[in-house]
Symmetry: none
Subunit: 127 residues, 4 copies
Amino acid sequence: MFIEIDTSSNEPIFEQIAQQLRFAIASGAIRPDEMIPSVREMSRMLAINPNTIARAYRVLQDEKIVFARRGMGLVVAPEAREYCRRSRKELFVEKYRKFLDEAIQSRLSEEEIREIVDSTPLRPEDQ
Amino acid sequence: MFIEIDTSSNEPIFEQIAQQLRFAIASGAIRPDEMIPSVREMSRMLAINPNTIARAYRVLQDEKIVFARRGMGLVVAPEAREYCRRSRKELFVEKYRKFLDEAIQSRLSEEEIREIVDSTPLRPEDQ
Amino acid sequence: MFIEIDTSSNEPIFEQIAQQLRFAIASGAIRPDEMIPSVREMSRMLAINPNTIARAYRVLQDEKIVFARRGMGLVVAPEAREYCRRSRKELFVEKYRKFLDEAIQSRLSEEEIREIVDSTPLRPEDQ
Amino acid sequence: MFIEIDTSSNEPIFEQIAQQLRFAIASGAIRPDEMIPSVREMSRMLAINPNTIARAYRVLQDEKIVFARRGMGLVVAPEAREYCRRSRKELFVEKYRKFLDEAIQSRLSEEEIREIVDSTPLRPEDQ
DNA sequence: GTGGTCTAGACCACC
DNA sequence: GTGGTCTAGACCACG
């Protein structure tokens, strides 16, 4: 599976799992109507307690990204891809907005902020 | 005082206080050799538990941004302004780097990321 | 067949099937001495696991609504229609009683409850 | 406390707790800006595992009925009362609608349904 | 003291 | 096999 957990991150494990599944759906790696790995399977794959997996899945169910088919497992909702794409976009717009707001609130000048943004390459290894 | 606390933010209160003091020093609003308000005073002003203020001050002391002058209270260190300016810059470089890394890890394309950055104005109200 | 299953409802599938058969008998759509579809047939028609169909049928057998006739399959019992009519009535009396009890327990006033009941038309599209 | 748990109900305990708190807020028994009992306190009062209480509280936080003040506890949101009143009303409108739909779908005649509704007193002990 | 996360293990109904 | 709930107990950061 394409999910990687950083157990020492501040980000809760259940949230990392939910987020990566959202991204996987947004990018088409998991498609609508497909099932996601069962709680127990995912638990084995990631070596994470099943309760934690279940909690991640509950979050996705609450967002209606995924729904339960009784006794069968969890299925990606038909509209989930569009929803995940949109919310991913919004998430990063919001993150960038927050970054700017904090920079302004820290009394960095506009020039200094522009310089930071302009001099940082998209990919870290680039110069 | 120019400090504003959001008691229901995820950012710890002591960290909000320390950060805003660092920024105030970086921008020159508080200058080297000036005193910062006493724990009690700050506690009253912000309506925040004195322990929390004390913890914020401890953090700043550990960073040698402020130091105790006997019988006087806490004073901003001579080199603090430069230090705060530099670390503020580094902080935001790092924040921006993290933003980009997360966007890439979410499988957003480079074009999409560029679009977000380019279409967001520095100041929220501008378009 | 006139049975419709919602595989992602909270109502167990076997219970949905049993209930709809009871109602079909109560209303005369299936009459005493008639056979109900075999497990396999029903399983194919509804695209539901045969075990689940079998369980629904077991429930109906336990209630003596239907009984096995050797080599023939399951047959609706002679007294089943009356029984289903009566229990259907009781079921809905009980459901309505439960609705009222919950509304009272939620501290809705009697006026508010009356208003809900009075302003809701029997058929959804009516106003 | 005015909360009562039926541990043998099908309704999950955490949902019973969340629901009764919503109702308590809707009816004004708990007011905006007040704190709700701490997880540990509620756990002691109801003799329910703290995790279960925490889950109930998490549900309410997700609905923004209640929010955390760091290190302090959970506070009822300012708009919560109106929100709870409205959603309580909607909940019971919907429950009644569902009752009617099921009754119709069971092929009860309109007369039979009306009779059930008309002959059932609001309070059980009344005749 | 507060809430939050995580693990471990039990038990349930359903398919 | 599936998900869901609950208990118990540990650990953490925050105030």
